[in-house]
Assembly symmetry: C2
Homo-oligomer: 322 residues x 2
Amino acid sequence: MALPKKVTIYEVGPREGIQIASNPIKTEDKVAFINTINETGISSIETVSFVSPKWVPSMADADEVLAKIEKKSGVEYRTVYLNIKGLERALNHQVTIDGVLIFSASNTFSQRNNNKSTEEIIAFMPNWISAYQEAGIPVDQVAVMATFGCNFEGHIPLERVVQLIEKVDHLLNENGEQLKKIKLADTMGWANPEQMKRTIFAIRNKWPDAEIILHLHDTRGLGMANAYSALQEGVSHFESAIGGLGGCPFAKVKGAPGNISTEDLVFMCDEMGIETGVDLAKLLECVKLAEGIFGHDLPGHLHRGGLFREIRPKTWAEMANH
Amino acid sequence: MALPKKVTIYEVGPREGIQIASNPIKTEDKVAFINTINETGISSIETVSFVSPKWVPSMADADEVLAKIEKKSGVEYRTVYLNIKGLERALNHQVTIDGVLIFSASNTFSQRNNNKSTEEIIAFMPNWISAYQEAGIPVDQVAVMATFGCNFEGHIPLERVVQLIEKVDHLLNENGEQLKKIKLADTMGWANPEQMKRTIFAIRNKWPDAEIILHLHDTRGLGMANAYSALQEGVSHFESAIGGLGGCPFAKVKGAPGNISTEDLVFMCDEMGIETGVDLAKLLECVKLAEGIFGHDLPGHLHRGGLFREIRPKTWAEMANH
């Protein structure tokens, strides 16, 4: 397939970065971070998790953060919740709520992350569907954690991923809903670019009309190669984090790099002539702010490598195709 | 094209890493680093530069390092030199000397790096050819620095790269030599994966039988995506550095990430079923040693992300294709 003409970036840095931060982040800094991202052209920002402050103390001020940020027209503000109580908290805010059913393809990771097996998570899904339906939200998305491998279980067979999505798809159909979006998360950085292609083929083969959303981690350095591999297959929806923030608190490896970095991904798209609508210079301002807030260097590359803009105002694609 | 079955890794970390190191590295540490790389299965190690200690004090002990390292059978030990005096120093050692003619596609970079324009460098090449011929070394390789862009000049048109290689090719033919290897260096991290493909096509179009060797930097985060793009075109010779050591002292951006990391590249190849002959666990021992010697964290990923071996003894390719 050809590269997509346009890519949509879903920024997850505020939620995923703050959730895993080793130092406490002040509410005002969280708000400032999100307000700065507002100026970049990014059209979706994952802001907070509605989780128990007992388990994730860094999210104790989630309601306050959401109340205080500037809500910009054209930007969708998203949240994460792990139970229906969390969904109910999200419903109190002016945020975008996806009708998404989430499970982990790794049973062990599911136990550690949610204290339930993958089967138990799926068995509970009719309750989620009801809760979404009561709120008037179409349930059209499935999100698969640990799609490409797991630090606890190792190999996750692609057949298993497809079978589990099929199960959820049947549940949706039984409840009058239709699967339109499939999010595949490489939660612990196991994917390689050939596996990426094979996975996309298998998903497209079963659900040719579903939109694929990728959530990629750069744990072992293959994040951007995986993103390029997916772009070659026409995938055009990516979750990423400013500065490469994030990681996973239950992912076994401490200090491992987090999500693929938004600025590196936007830079790659820009250079290859793929439109993102995101301003790289403004993204780098967010990285600088985030390094101050988080108190350490971030693993993304572009903020150290530097922009081309002053040296070569056009992109490679513009220069090469003049 | 299909991915290659086998990839050859040329380790450049000792030379390129030490050359740019901010702290002085002891001779014995340099020797220990190279001796440890000897155990990984890597078949080529770039060890030292023969340059003036006035300009590059970290290479003042180049002769001593080469005399003290263990020379392992099956491993080629390479060196770098910028003038014929340097070549003569290299000839005093039991090292592999490529008959290579080097120039920068960026004139400004050439001036800064060599104090000569690209044209002057090419005009001087007959002297290099004579020097190699006197030493009985076939002159069969051209190496192009700043092939994909330059922090000083910006865009480097592909046509210019091809024309400059053609000039050198003519020089070689006039002197009874034949171009067999073309090394393309992304010295300042400007390449993107689509540019990589277009460049490889253009080179193959003119020199279908020449072997392409890539020297990639991860300055702006696209190093591994560029490597994957090149692998897709069947390129099977890569220079990389353990831990992502290196960078370029004349490359304008301080603190920018260096070469693509050997362990991340070998990991990607392993996972996709491409043979490298290199042992990942032993590479990670080299990273650990290098972090001690250089006194700081290295930018490669795998040493933080962790190996799969204990969790899943086989590679993805083996699991998926069983």
